[in-house]
Amino acid sequence: MDTSAKPPVISIMLVSASALAFEVLLIRLFSIIQWHHFAYMIISLALLGYGVSGTIMTLLRERVMPHYVTAYIVNGIGFALTIIASFLLVQKLPFNALEILWDSAQWGYLLAAYLLLLLPFFFVANCIVLTFGAFSEQIPRIYGFDLFGAGVGSLVLIYSLMFLQPQQVLLLISFTVLIAVVVAMLEMRTDYRLTAVVIVVISIATLLMLPKGWLSLQMSPYKPLSQYMQVSGSHVERVLSGPHGVVTVLENRQIPFRLASGISLNNSAEPPTQYALFVDSDGPSALTRYDGDRSKLIYLDYQTSALPYHLSNPARVLILGMGGGSDILQAEYHDVGNIEAVEMNPHLVELLQDDYADFAGWAFLQDHTRIHLSETRAFLAHNQSTYDLIQMSLLDAAGASSAGLYALSENYLYTTEALGLYYRRLQPGGMLSITRWIKVPPRDALKLFATAVTALREEGVSHPENQLAMIRGWNTSTLLIKHGVFTAEDIRSLQQFCDERSFDVAWYPGITDSEVNLFNAIDKPYFYEGARALLGKSAAAFIDDYKFSISPATDDRPYYFNFFKWESLAEILSLQRRAGFSLIELGYLVLVFTLIQALLVSVLLVLLPLRFVPRENNAPDRPYIAAVMLYFVLIGLAFLFVEIAFIQRFILFLGDPVYAVAAVLCGFLVFSGLGSFTAPFVRRCCRINPVVLAVTGITIVILASLWLHPLVFQALAIQTTAIKLIASVALIAPLAFFMGMPFPIALNSVSERAGWLLPWAWSVNGFASLMSAIVATLIAVHFGFTSVMLLAVLFYSLAALVFALNLTKQVHSDSVNASS
C-alpha cells in the first residue's frame, strides 16, 4: 500500500458510531419481535464477530494487508449490506424461544441466528483492525476516533428513535455506513472516488424506493400483541414509537377487551369499553372509557389492590407507573380529592391527556389529577411531598434491560432502599400498597415481603409485623405497609373486604392459623407460612432453605426478578418434561449458557491461530505471548466491569434508564477516546510507565467514587436533570480518560514486537469484552455491583503488573536492539 496515505479516521468514526448504534438497536428490535433474554443471547454471541475478525486477520494478515484500501472498502460495504440482510434473514427463521426446552430443532435456528448476526460485526471489526495494522504507529489516534464515534453513536441512536421507527433507524445506520465507505475513499484519495459516490447514491435511492413494508418487523406469533391481533375484529388504532418503546393501541369492537387483572370472582360488573395498550408488543394494559359516572368503575373495587381504600379515606394518592390509567380510575371510584401519577413513557401520558382525552374522560379528572413524566425513584427523590396512599400495581418497570444491555433485568423499584424511600414519603397513618401476580409456589410475593421487613427495620421500626398486611386473590396478591400500626378497626375492615370478595388473608398483626387458605386453597398455606417465617427469628435460615431466591433485593444487587437457586436446579430440570417448565428461571440460565458458549468459542479461536503464525528467529516466546493474552483479557474484562457498574449507579441518579444509559455510555466512550488520543504524549513525556500511570489514575478514581458518589447523588437529588447530567459527566470524565489509555498503548507495543500480535491481541480483547458483560452480571447477582467495581480495580492492577514486568521490558530492549 501507499505509505503516504492517511488513515481514514472520519470513516472509522462513522463505522464505529454505526456499529454501536446497530448493537443497541438490535436489542430494541429483538425485544419487540422476540423476548429479551434471547435477544441478549443472540446479540452477545453475534459480538463474537469482533473476536473472529481478529482471529481471521491474524491468519490472513500477510495476504490482506497489501490490499488494505480495497479490503477496507469491501468490508465497509459488507457491513452496510449485512446490517439489513442479516436482520431480514434472522426474522425469516422459524425460531421460537418458548419452545426451546421442548424442541431440539430450535437450537439449530438459534445457531443460524448467531451466525447471521455475527457477519455485520465481523465486517466492521475488520475495518478497524485492518486500519490499526496499516497504520500501527497511529493506533492511539485511530482508537480515539473509534471510541469517540461509538460514544456519539449511542446518543444519535436515542435521538433518531424519537423521530423514526426502529426499522427506519436500521436503514439509516446502513446508509451511514455506505457514506462512511465513500468518506474513506475520499480520505485515502482512491482512484475511483466519483464512481463510488454514484454507486452509493444509487444504492440509497433504490433502498428508499422499495415498496413499503419490505423492512417491516415480524413479531413472534406468541408475543401478546400478535395473539391479540389474531382475535376476530382486532385492529391497530395507533402506533407511537420512541426511545422508551413502541406503544401500540389496539381496538376491537367485535369482541371487546375486558382487561382487569386480579378481579374477584364475586364481581358481576363488566368493564366499560377499552383499548388495549402494548409496549414493545408486551402487555396489554387497559385504556378505559370514563364518562364521569363513577358507578361504572365498580369492577375496580373488586381487585386486591382496592384494599387500602377500605381501610382509610386517602385524600392524597400517588400512583407509581400509570400505564393506561386503571389505578387512576380506581382512585377516582373512591372519590380521592388529589390524585398524582408518575409515568416514564411520554407516549402513555400523551394518549391519556391528548389523543384519547375524550374517551378516557380526562375532562372529569384533570382538575384533581396530575401526571408527572418521570422515573419513579427519581420523582420521589426529587419531590419531598408526602401522601396518604402510594399505590403500585403490577408494575414491572424497565431497568437497563429496556435500554438493552443485560439478560437479567435490574429493577430499582422493589429494593430495600426503594421501599424505605416510599415509606418516608407516607403521611403518618398512610399506606404503601404493592400488588403482584400470584405465582405458585410463591416467589416474588415472599421476596417483596422479605424486602418490606428489612426496609422497615432499616427505617427504625422495631416491630414490622404490626405494620404489614398481605392478602391474595386467585391471581394477584397485595402487600400493605402502613406508616403506623394497623388498628383493630383496620383489621376488621380488612377481614370484611376479603370476606366480601373471597380473598384470603396471608398476614396481618394477630392473624391465626384457622383464618388462612380458605377461599383460594393451595396445597399448603405457603404465603402465610412464608410471611410468618420471614418475620420470625429464623428468617435468614428460611430464606437460605427456600428453593427460590427470595433474599431482599438491594440497590447494589437490584435483581428482584431473579429467583434462581443452583441448589434447586436439578430438581426443577427433572420436572421439565412434566409441565415443570414454568418453574425454570430461564433468565439466569440463559446468561450462564451464553457464557459457556462464548467461552468455548473464544478459547478455540484464540488458541487456533497460534499454530499457524510465523516462527522466524525473533519470534515472541511463549511467556511473552501468554503475557499478551493475560493483559488483553484483564483489560477487556475490567473496562466493561467499570462501565456496567457505573451505568447502574448513574441510572438511579439520573432517573430515566434509556437516557441515562445513552449519556453514561457516551461520556465513557468520548472521554476514553480523549484518553487514547493523549496516550502517545503521556508515553513520550512521562518517565513513569504509561500503563502504570493510567491504572493508578483508574484505581484512585474508582476507590474515591465508592465514597464520593453517594454524597454527590444525595446532595444533587433534587436538582434538575441538566445539572445532574453535568455532574455525571464530571464524575465520569477523569475515570474514562485514564481507561482509554491501556488498550492502545499496549496494542502499539505488541505490534512493534510482531505484526501478527496486533490482530491477535484485538481478538483476545474482543472475546474478553464479550464475556465481561455476562460475568459482571453474574457477579452482581450474587455479590453486588460494588464487588464488580473492586474486581475491576484488581484486574487493572494485575494488567499493569503484567505490562510493567513482561511487555514493557521486551519492547524497550527490542527498541534498543533496533537502534543499535
Binding site: E571, R577, F581, L583
Partner: protein, 259 residues
C-alpha cells in the same frame, strides 16, 4: 413427487404398468394401515406416560391415578387429527405443540389433568371457552352428553369444526365469537373450561355454572402452564378456588414454615 404426463400415459397403456399400479395401491393401503397402528401404539405410550405422571403427582390430585373414564377418553381420541401436518410425528409426545395463529395444543398430561379435575359425568353439559385445536373438546365429548365450545379466532374455529364433522363428534357444538357471555341458550353447565382467560374469569361464566359444578382455568403463557385454577360452585352458590400446580414441587422442606 411430480410425475411426467408421458410416464403416466406409458404406465396406463402397458400390461406391466397396470400390474405395477395395482401393487402400488396395495402398498399404499398397507402403509395407511400401518400408520394407523403406529398412531395407536404412540397413543398407548402416551397413556402410559400420563399414568406415570399421575402417580407422581398423587399428592396434588388427591388420588393415585386419573379417573379410568378420563384415560379411556384420552385413548379414544386420535390426537394426530388435531395437530397441523408438520407436527404429526410429535402428536403423541407429552408436550405442547404449536397449532398456528400463536396458539398451542396443550400437553396431553395437562389435558388429562384438567379433564379429571372437572369430574364429568355421562349426562353432563360442558362449556369450553377457547376451542383451539378442538382436541380438549373431543376428549370432553367422550365423557359428557353435550360439549359447547366457543373460539375467538375464526380460522381455528373453522378448522376445529371441520375435524369434528370428519370425525363424527356429533355432541360437540362449536361457535365462533365472543366467549365472555358464555353460551346462555344451553346454560347451566355442569363444567366449564376456560382456556383463553386474560387475567380474569368473566362473571357470566360463573353465573352459567350449575351449583355443584366446576370451572377450570389454566394460567400461564404459550408452551407453559404455570398452574390450574379450579373454581367450585357450592350447592349454596358460594365459590371456592383451588390452585393446582401440575408438578410436585415443595418450596419448603421440613418444618421451616413453622419456625
Amino acid at each position: 413427487m411430480v410425475l411426467s404426463p408421458l410416464l403416466i400415459k406409458k404406465t396406463f397403456t402397458s400390461k406391466w404398468g397396470v400390474q405395477f399400479l395395482l401393487c402400488m395401491v396395495l402398498v399404499m393401503i398397507a402403509s395407511a394401515g400401518l400408520a394407523t397402528d403406529e398412531y395407536a401404539v404412540m397413543r398407548e405410550n402416551m397413556l402410559k406416560e400420563i399414568g406415570a405422571e399421575a402417580r407422581l403427582t398423587a399428592s396434588y390430585i388427591k388420588k393415585s391415578a386419573f379417573d379410568e373414564r378420563v384415560m379411556e377418553a384420552m385413548g379414544n381420541v386420535p390426537r394426530h387429527q388435531f395437530v397441523p401436518e408438520e407436527q404429526l410425528d410429535n402428536s403423541y409426545k407429552n408436550r405442547p405443540l404449536p397449532i398456528g395463529h400463536g396458539q398451542t395444543i396443550s400437553q396431553p398430561y395437562i389435558v388429562a389433568l384438567m379433564t379429571d379435575l372437572l369430574e364429568i359425568k355421562p349426562g353432563d353439559r360442558v362449556l369450553e371457552i377457547g376451542t383451539g385445536s378442538g382436541y380438549q373438546a373431543a376428549v370432553l365429548s367422550q365423557l359428557a352428553k353435550e360439549v359447547y365450545t366457543i373460539e375467538i379466532i375464526e380460522p381455528l374455529h373453522q378448522r376445529a369444526t371441520q375435524v369434528f364433522e370428519q370425525m363424527g363428534y356429533a355432541n360437540i357444538h362449536s361457535r365462533h365469537g365472543d366467549g365472555y357471555y358464555g353460551w346462555k341458550e344451553h346454560a347451566p353447565y355442569d363444567a366449564i373450561i376456560v382456556t383463553a382467560a386474560a387475567g380474569n374469569i368473566p362473571p357470566p361464566l360463573i353465573e352459567q355454572l350449575k351449583p355443584g359444578g366446576s370451572l377450570v382455568v389454566p394460567v400461564g403463557g404459550a408452551f407453559q402452564t404455570q398452574q390450574l385454577v379450579l373454581v367450585k360452585k357450592g350447592d349454596d352458590g358460594k365459590l371456592r378456588t383451588r390452585q393446582v400446580l401440575p408438578v410436585v414441587f415443595v418450596p419448603l422442606t421440613g418444618d421451616q414454615g413453622q419456625r
